[in-house]
């Protein structure tokens, strides 16, 4: 870990913390958009190192958390009723659907497989020509290129028994939904570094201008996060708002052109339902009609009743930054990782899971 160690250096962390404390005058709410950033803050113990006047608000950037219940139900249905090999990233399989999770489907005989890459699913399809293989293509702009590429591979190689069940979501529309909410308490955003590595940073300029709010594209290591926070605090204290890029070692202004090209080839922008938040216009990807043979939504007759989220779960308020996970009355009581009410309690990037797992609900004795 040669290259990464300087971004975990206690000395640099202390310097940055000192710098933040030196310039801090006001009291600010900063939202880290990505669940990976939330977990890094929590795992490294950064939240209780920051000055009390800086409140980190944990954003909606956890793909598992925002995937609608109805889609999990579809995946379960495919595994149980259509005898498909249902492949998924690991985090997804414990998330509760309205009836059961994919993990429960697996224990009841569904062929559910955990993969690291959708290209492995294409390989499984090639090796099992007699069976349909579906990849549960969830995620933000970060996983979209690999999921799109799996369709390109299957198309090129004539693998006809492969398709994807898509629930891709896009970050900028979700940020705008939060900014435009009347109750929005967020003063500045740390944008998700990896999403920008793919898409570039251009989409954020209009948001900065329209909502007059600082956005800093930020990485995931402790030094990245503190530098991102320092850059937002500098802007907030100076009363300015602009788009800045802290994560320059990874994020280029234009993004990754090859990745964008493959995404554009396979996907088109669509309205998307976000679990806990609701419908956000133009906030997701769907498979283009030219590739509908690879779209599980069209390939299979998935005729199931539309399910709705458990209304006692306040995941939406958590993801919009209105409450902290431990302010939810169900937190740690009716809702735990083994018996979750909503997805943020089970996803490894979910804010509720982070609070539960690292026990931030007030019981840490400093």
């Amino acid at each position: 870990m040669k290259y990464i160690s300087e971004f975990r250096s206690p000395e640099i962390v202390n310097t940055l913390l000192g710098e933040i404390k030196k310039i801090l005058k006001g009291s600010w709410n900063i939202m880290e958009v990505c669940g990976g950033q939330t977990h890094s803050l929590v795992k490294n113990g950064l939240l209780n190192m920051l000055p009390a006047n800086i409140q980190m608000i944990h954003g909606p950037g956890c793909p598992v958390c925002v995937t609608p219940v109805s889609l999990i139900d579809k995946a379960v249905h495919l595994a149980m009723e259509h005898d498909v090999i249902l492949c998924s990233f690991g985090d997804m399989i414990r998330v509760p659907g309205s009836g059961m999770s994919l993990l429960e489907a697996k224990s009841k005989g569904g062929d559910v497989r955990i993969l690291y890459s959708p290209l492995e699913a294409v390989k499984i399809a090639r090796e099992n020509p007699g069976r349909e293989v579906v990849f549960f293509a969830v995620g933000f702009e970060t996983t979209a290129p690999a999921n799109a590429l799996s369709v390109v591979h299957a198309y090129r190689e004539g693998v006809k028994n492969y398709s994807i069940l898509t629930s891709h979501v896009l970050v900028p529309p979700a940020m705008e939904a939060i900014m435009s909410d009347e109750d929005c308490r967020v003063d500045a955003f740390l944008a998700a570094g990896h999403v920008c590595a793919i898409m570039g940073i251009g989409e954020y300029y209009p948001l900065v201008e329209k909502y007059k709010i600082p956005i800093v594209v930020t990485g995931f290591e402790p030094v990245d996060l503190l530098e991102g926070i320092l850059m937002t605090v500098r802007q907030l204290e100076a009363g300015t708002y602009k788009l800045e890029n802290q994560y320059t070692r990874v994020v280029e202004t234009e993004g990754n052109k090859n990745a964008i090209a493959v995404v554009d080839q396979i996907f088109e922008i669509t309205n998307r339902e976000w679990r806990g938040i609701g419908n956000i216009p133009f906030s997701g990807y769907a498979v283009k009609s030219a590739y509908s043979d690879f779209d599980a939504n069209k390939k299979f007759d998935i005729n199931i009743a539309e399910a709705h989220e458990d209304t006692t779960c306040l995941a939406g308020d958590v993801m919009k930054g209105k409450i902290k996970p431990d302010q939810c009355p169900n937190f740690g009581k009716k809702c735990t990782p083994t018996r979750p009410l909503g997805a943020p309690m089970v996803s490894s990037e979910g804010a509720c899971a982070a609070y539960y797992h690292f026990n931030l609900a007030g019981s840490v004795h400093q």
Binding site: N44, L47, F89, D91, S348, E349, V364
Partner: protein
């Protein structure tokens, strides 16, 4: 480890249901395989059980081994089946003496593979100084098992100086870890995922009885608890200790040894090394007055170079494990809910 005993000439090259029937095929398999390789005075009696004498306090432990793949870098299911039970007994302060060995074989298992596993069982039991004195073989239909499952149960004599128990732990005790974390779990995980790393990561499976009994002989009642952090890893064991002893535990991330390539693999796979399984590692809770000498002795052991004091027991934050992070933050290290799952991004 040298495994060279040639496979005997048999009328069959795969296991079938008849091998578990108790009839002619079973005796062929046992005579040519198990008894021939593992034979000793007690096993050779071929009685329904073994009769023997033990001295003083006796410890007993059992475990079942279902690992997939059967063979991996640094070990195989046969090594695990012997070392695992030997180590569980060592954690009780006992020198393993006798083991039972039971197989559940899946119809279709290649005799070649079974033979290789048997040879590793022989080598591992010799290395650990234990005898296999009774056993069982069952065969299940194809699809009802996963090639081979092994159960071993062991008994051993508890060292006279051993005084191991949760009730002996007290605030101020030091927590010593015998080596680097997460090697076994990452080896298995990378096999399952078909991942290859630039440097080879291998399992740490090994018997711990000799080093543990040497340490008990020297430090006796100052060793308050021993645990091997297998499934669930270090975090799970420390949580069990904190709850069991009704005390708090503080550890320092900086002091916890993790080999660089293992750490890199954990990052790639989205896993926390604190929760990843180990097979040849132990945690000792020792009296602060002897902790430095204890560590010094442990470091003399051929696998002890990376041993380290990783934390201490406290009467603050009872029933909780707190970790000081590398950058100086603090967080709770909790029990894991279910299996660690790889992350999306």
């Amino acid at each position: 480890m040298l495994v060279s005993c040639p496979i005997p000439k048999l009328d069959f090259d795969t296991i079938n249901l008849g091998h578990g029937s108790g009839g002619v095929l079973t005796s062929q398999l046992l005579d040519a395989g198990v008894f021939r390789l593992l034979g000793n005075d007690l096993l050779d009696k071929k009685h329904d059980g073994a009769i023997f004498t033990l001295q003083g306090k006796v410890a007993m432990s059992t475990d079942t081994y279902v690992v997939s793949p059967l063979f991996f870098e640094g070990g195989n299911i046969g090594d695990l089946a012997i070392n695992g039970t030997v180590n569980d007994l060592a954690m009780c302060g006992a020198a393993a003496r006798y083991l039972s060995l039971a197989f559940v074989l899946e119809e279709g298992l290649k005799m070649e593979q079974f033979w290789e596993i048997l040879q590793h069982i022989k080598a591992a039991s010799e290395a650990a100084g234990v005898q296999i004195v009774t056993g069982d073989t069952k065969v299940v239909e194809r699809g009802k098992g996963d090639k081979i499952f092994i159960n071993t149960t062991g008994v051993g004599e508890v060292h006279q100086k051993a005084a191991i128990g949760m009730e002996n732990i007290k605030p101020g005790d030091k927590i010593v870890l015998s080596g680097p974390l997460a090697r076994h779990g990452i080896t298995i995980m990378s096999h399952r995922q078909g991942l290859q790393f630039e440097t080879t990561i291998s399992s740490d499976t090994r018997p711990l009885n000799k080093i543990v009994l040497t340490l008990i002989n020297e430090f006796g009642k100052d060793i308050h608890l021993l645990r091997d952090p297998t499934r669930g890893g270090l975090a799970t064991v420390l949580n069990e200790i904190a709850v069991g002893a009704g005390l708090g535990i503080t550890i320092s991330q900086r002091d916890i040894p993790v080999e660089e390539e293992v750490y890199g693999a954990c990052e790639m796979l989205g896993l926390d090394p604190l929760y990843v399984a180990n097979e040849g590692l132990f945690v000792a809770i020792v009296d602060a007055s002897v902790s430095d000498q204890f560590l010094f002795q442990l470091k003399q052991w051929e696998h002890g170079a990376m041993a380290c004091i990783v934390g201490e027991v406290t009467n603050e934050h009872v029933r909780q494990v707190l970790m000081k992070s590398n950058i100086g933050g603090r967080r709770v290290v909790n029990m894991l809910a279910g299996e660690q799952l790889p992350r999306i991004c």
